[in-house]
């Protein structure tokens, strides 16, 4: 039964199209256009000067952008690895228990649902040199206070630790949903064959979970590129460029340096890189899924 009530169809899709066109497509075109100009704020208006590809040519020499890109990719790879390991263990744990299931689920939801700025603030206090809890605890072990956020090599690790803490719960959530939707008869068959818990995980749960695991990895990897709030509060990309990430470089170019052209170029290149990663990961996913079938 299909109705030819075309008016409704157009009216119901119009708002979403308007929003997507005006607030995502036009800005995208705008960013692309601006990337060929040198744009300065002058006397209450933007002054455009066409410079062609100059920004693009100069971008590799930009002090922040490439180090930031490298850091972002490194951060994604390291954090996703640890998040998957911790997340899988926790999800498995929650799926095994009967009492307290919803309590633990709620508990592990908190980091996802609470304001990242608060999480950044808390961790900034905990990482504090003089008054932070980590150095306080280390002092009992007789370790000298560490400069968690001021030391170039340690600062990056501090950001990694925070990101793992922040987003492991998200992995838990997705993997738990995957585990709970696995067919139970496979497990019963396994139990009749007398498998123990360990081989059940290795031979049943993990192989069956492969599609969910891949989706989760892809998702977390790409979403890590959005990291901003924590960096803004913890390190502002420093010391030097040790914790610089692409979102922060773009923010600095647009809003601190008031260099709209440069910010646009960084945005265009970042969008290109992220899209490329999305395409590559989707292709890999498709191949693995085909293989798994």
């Amino acid at each position: 039964m299909h109705h030819k009530d075309t008016n409704w169809k157009i009216l119901s899709l119009l708002p979403i199209f308007l929003i997507l066109v005006c607030l995502t497509l036009i800005p995208l075109v705008n960013i692309f256009y601006n990337s060929f100009f040198d744009i300065r704020w002058n006397d209450g208006g933007y002054v455009y000067k066409f410079i062609g590809l100059q920004h693009y040519i100069e971008l590799p020499h930009n002090k922040f952008y490439l180090p930031g890109l490298k850091n972002t990719v490194t951060l994604s790879m390291i954090t996703v690895l640890f998040q998957m390991i911790f997340g899988f263990c926790i999800a498995l744990g929650i799926s095994k228990i009967k009492t307290g299931k919803s309590f633990f689920t709620s508990l592990f939801l908190l980091p996802i649902l609470l304001p990242p700025i608060v999480i950044g603030s808390i961790w900034r206090l905990m990482y504090g040199f003089d008054f932070g809890i980590f150095n306080y605890l280390l002092s009992f072990a007789g370790v000298y206070p560490l400069d968690w956020l001021g030391d170039p090599s340690l600062a990056f690790i501090s950001v990694v630790i925070l990101d793992i803490w922040h987003w492991t719960p998200f992995v838990v959530l997705l993997l738990l949903a995957g585990i709970e939707s696995l067919p139970t008869d496979v497990y019963e068959a396994g139990r009749i064959d007398g498998t123990n818990a360990w081989s059940e995980i290795i031979h049943l749960t993990i192989p069956l979970m492969i599609p969910t695991i891949i989706v989760t990895i892809v998702f977390r990897f790409i979403l890590t590129f959005k990291i901003f709030d924590e960096i803004y509060l913890l390190t502002k990309g420093g010391p030097g460029t040790s914790t610089e990430v692409i979102s922060f470089s773009i923010y600095e170019a647009f809003f601190s340096a008031d260099n709209v052209g440069l910010g646009s170029v960084m945005s265009v290149v970042s969008l290109f890189v992220v899209s490329l990663i999305i395409i590559i990961m989707l292709n890999i996913t498709r191949r693995i899924n085909k293989y798994a079938e």
Partner: protein, 274 residues
Amino acid sequence: MQSKTEKIITYSFLSFFGCVVLFPFLWIGMMAFKKQIDILMMKIIFKPTLFNFEKIFFSKEATFFDDIFNSLVVGISSTIIILIVCSMASFTMIRLRIPQWITAILFLWVIVFHMLPPITFVGAWFMMASSFGLFNSRIALILAHTTINLPLGLLIISSFMRDVPTEIQEAAFVDGCSNRQVYFNVILPLLRPGLFAAAVIVFLFSWNDFMVAMNLTAKATQTVPVSIATFSQQYEVRYGEMAAGSLVSLIPALILTFFAQKYIVKGLTAGAVK
């Protein structure tokens, strides 16, 4: 079928990670009730005080009530817009016959947009807002939050839409209902859990957003996260006020997690796995 040791190991493992998750919040909760001097001296035992809360709410330069108001206006408005826009669109795309390519392109673009770093768009939004005279108005931020959270809203509502049984809809069409009537009288009531899940998640994400709000607002329209960040920006970090502000900002999420946990879990997984 589990042995007792297995059970004990599982529970202690989960409790350990639970403590790791909870510890920072307990620590900041304690700090909110400490005086600056007690914080700096790392006192474990201290006399609780409401000084920090008084300061953020009632001191002369306090803006926290305004900030909460701004956050609520922006969060509620963008949530309502998203619910209306996405429920209509997903009904038409999933339940009515329209050319396949429209649905395909729309979903593809929404998913890609969802994955792109929002900062890449904020610069352009900022320029659009200032050229329309909308900078430092709540309208700009409402539109920005609507756009940013639209993908999540659409994915969640669509996944619930697929679970709405088709028979009732077909019966309504046989009775001669128009598309509009079916949407209002059949789909919306059945979609209530999905709308609720989407509303909770979208509202929380709007309430939590710092990056977009910081760049599109100034003092008069700043939201709670922006205000909290300023406590750490001054020459002297105001730990107590930062902790107190943070604690207040956690309230919506804590209440919603407590009452709507089932919906949040369902919504977040629906929004991610599709």
